[in-house]
């Protein structure tokens, strides 16, 4: 079955957890014992309605404070698709969680409180999903029940949001505006009578008609070698296979390939998936590949089609989102994890911090603090084989690991 990954974004109390709970409840994905638990928790707090945020807020501290602290993954399915939703917290200081959620999602739902409209934080939510090139964005104008289901309020918010989109750098991004009430269930799964002026899809209706292939990122074929498979058994005495996941395009038997960094050329001999061989495999497949020629290949090497070489450089420019308490500073050393490669690197400079105000730059002071996003130059101890993030997400992104603490300190998107 097709799997669609969705991230949510919105400020605290805009209703993200409630919306997800509503999706689960109205698609009958919550089992009786879970609905019972939600009913109990709601009653204990003296509510006369079901508070669906209890379906997702899982940590003790979250339930006590009524907020979401960490990204939670929620699962439900319809007859058509399996859905994975990341419930990400909306506080300013949790930018890192939002970036994390967006990095694995093909669709984002950005929530706006109908009473508040487009606010400072909405810019940030949109900016992050734009930067990470999340293909399909649903702008859910929530709490419509609190503004008398007013068409005017909805239209005003829509045109404010369109103003943000005017400066977008990602032309193919698809925006869909839906007026909803997560609490009452209007336009989440069921169409509502409360807003006869709206004739578009419900949230689920929109998700159901999306083709997963349309929201997936394409690009040129990249095969980063994870392991070398050498069984050394009788049947497979001389077998040397390369295990990895195909990213970007597809691979066929007979394809002319180049091995990086050695630049040796060969051809795809066989494509294994478990105990069968295939003529062709597409992006997303975890396969084992054998080559026509005996070439020395190890983890971290990359196979590409000979007429589709990536860039090979020791110096990169990237947009970095910083996720560590220790600031990013020039001269600092980090391990770069890019595909299956780990390379020591040194920060050359921080050019500017990108403001939450869309498109404008802010003085960086040559540093990046926690939750800041900026433009950074990085020097590598050996070359990596990369594409720009725009051309190939998987081969244009990396994480920075602090060699002292082993923390994942930041994430980068190569220019």
């Amino acid at each position: 079955m097709e799997v669609l990954k969705i991230a949510t974004a919105g400020s605290v109390d805009d209703g993200k957890s409630t919306l997800i709970g509503r999706l689960l409840y109205d698609t009958k994905s919550l089992t009786d014992d879970k609905v019972e638990a939600i009913r109990k928790s709601s009653e204990q707090r003296g509510y006369d309605y079901l508070d669906f945020s209890f379906a997702t807020d899982g940590l003790v501290a979250e339930r006590e404070q009524g907020i979401t602290i960490d990204v939670a993954h929620i699962y439900f399915s319809t007859l058509k698709k399996s859905y994975i939703i990341a419930d990400t917290p909306g506080h300013v200081e949790y930018t890192r969680n939002m970036v994390t959620g967006a990095s694995t999602s093909q669709v984002a739902i950005i929530l706006i409180d109908a009473r508040k409209g487009v606010i400072e934080q909405t810019y940030r939510h949109f900016f992050i999903n734009n930067l990470l090139r999340v293909k399909d964005i649903i702008v859910a104008v929530n709490k419509m029940d609190l503004v008398d289901y007013s068409e005017e309020v909805f239209n005003d918010i829509k045109s404010d949001f369109e103003a943000l989109n005017a400066v977008s750098t990602y032309a193919e991004q698809q925006l869909t505006y839906i007026p909803v009430s997560a609490l009452k269930g209007d336009n989440i799964v069921e169409k509502t009578d409360a807003m006869p002026w709206y004739d578009g899809d419900t949230i689920l209706g929109h998700l159901e008609q999306l083709e997963v292939s349309d929201v997936q990122d394409g690009g040129q074929t990249r095969f980063a070698v994870q392991n070398v498979i050498r069984p050394k058994t009788e049947e497979y005495h001389d077998f040397r296979g390369f295990a990895g996941k195909i990213k970007g395009g597809k691979l066929k038997v007979g394809d002319k390939i180049t091995v990086l960094p050695s630049l040796t050329q060969s051809k795809v001999k066989e494509i294994y998936f478990f105990d069968k061989t295939y003529q062709e495999a597409a992006a997303g497949s975890s396969v084992v590949i054998t080559l026509e020629d005996e070439i020395n290949i190890t983890r971290g090497d990359m196979l590409v089609k000979s007429d589709e070489l990536p860039k090979i450089e020791k110096q990169i420019e990237a947009t970095v989102c910083w996720m560590d308490n220790k600031q990013l500073q020039p001269g600092a050393k980090y391990l770069i994890q890019h595909n299956t490669n780990k390379v020591l690197s040194k920060i050359d400079g921080v050019k500017h911090v990108i403001s939450t105000q869309y498109g404008s730059h802010q003085d960086a002071n040559n540093k990046l603090a926690l939750n800041e996003i900026g433009s950074v130059s990085i020097k590598l101890s050996k070359p990596i084989f990369y594409d720009s993030y725009q051309d190939n997400k998987a081969n244009g992104s990396f994480i920075l690991i602090d060699p002292q603490t082993n923390a994942t300190a930041g994430v980068g998107f190569i220019d």
């Binding site: 996941k245 060699p403 994942t408």
Partner: protein, 315 residues
């Protein structure tokens, strides 16, 4: 039902369809297994004999074929396992030719490291943690692969795929590493280890559908069978096994039941079911109105039960 035989293990065949069909969840799990083997020196697969860990074993086979699974399996045996599970386990490792390590909760009790619970709700589920942590230290495992899924429970929904544990096996839920794209950071310090969850993103139904599609053999207690049972707190308990506490006034009757999970017998309840084939089990799960963990008493103790156990080093 087809089993994993020597032939399917060692000889590849040419597929009759020439284009590989992608199963996104399977592909992701295989990718994770390969990252574990590349990034760690001494991984182990924690094998309970349940459907999730059996699924892991199949995925591990797929990840490294035609080579054998390049790490051992380890079973933390509570001593309260269904006999069917143990028989199944031993048969499986023999067929695969992989090493099996068994460490017993009973030994931890005998050594005075943990104290057996008593009473109506006594279970050895909590005690497993000590035995597990001791075994990790004994073998110096740096990565322990487990079959936990995020859809099982709310605290699990916050779990990472590579989840770092400190020297005491503790989970620091508020200070977890962000996981971006499919980049898994396996850097750890000496003494730390990582718990790895390759089927994090699978649901219970995904697992069952996979078992059906792959024709994977599973222990017989997952299928409907006749069993002497008694009912307590609305849950159905096995009356055939001594380790399950039963008060004298709790009446025994024979019913057709099956188990949805096969954990410790003392805290795993059965469900009334006539599903005696994998196809019937899959459609039963699809229509099911009670979540899987609803049949496990250890989670019913309190709303925060799982979070607390995880902080202490439980899987």
């Amino acid at each position: 039902m087809e089993t994993v035989t020597e032939e399917t293990q060692t000889k590849a065949t040419i597929s009759n369809t020439s284009v590989l069909e992608i199963n996104a969840l399977e592909s992701e799990a295989i990718y994770i297994f390969r990252e574990v083997v590349a990034q760690f020196e001494n991984p182990v697969l924690l094998f309970s004999g349940g459907k999730d860990s059996i699924t892991l074993v199949r995925l591990a086979q797929k990840a490294f074929f035609p080579a054998k699974i390049p790490f051992p399996l380890m079973h933390i045996d509570t001593g309260h396992n269904f006999p069917e599970t143990i028989a199944f386990r031993d048969k499986l490792v023999k067929e695969l030719g992989v090493e099996l390590i068994v460490r017993n909760v009973q030994d931890s009790i005998n050594e005075g490291k943990v104290v057996e619970e008593t009473g109506k709700y006594a279970s050895r589920n909590m005690l497993q943690t000590t035995t597990l942590l001791d075994a990790i230290e004994e073998f110096k495992f740096d990565a322990c692969i487990g079959g936990a899924r995020r859809d099982e429970e709310k605290a699990r929904a916050k779990e990472r795929i590579f989840s770092v544990r400190d020297d005491f096996g503790q989970w620091d839920e508020k200070n977890q590493r962000p996981e971006l794209f499919d980049l898994l950071n396996g850097e750890i310090e000496l003494g730390q280890n990582v718990r790895v969850f390759p089927i994090s993103n699978w649901t219970e139904l995904d697992v069952w559908s996979y078992i059906e599609k792959e024709r994977i053999e599973i222990p017989s207690i997952y299928f409907a069978h006749q069993r002497n049972i008694f009912v307590r707190d609305g849950l159905i308990w096995s009356a055939d096994d001594e380790v399950v506490f039963r008060a004298e006034d709790e009446l025994v009757e024979e019913k057709t039941v099956r188990f949805r999970t096969v954990g410790d017998m003392s805290c795993t309840a059965a469900v009334l079911s006539t599903a005696d084939t994998i196809e019937k089990v899959v459609s039963e799960i699809r229509d099911s109105k009670i979540s899987e963990r609803g049949a496990r008493i250890d989670d019913k103790r309190s709303e925060a039960a799982m979070e607390k156990r995880k902080q202490q080093g439980y899987f």
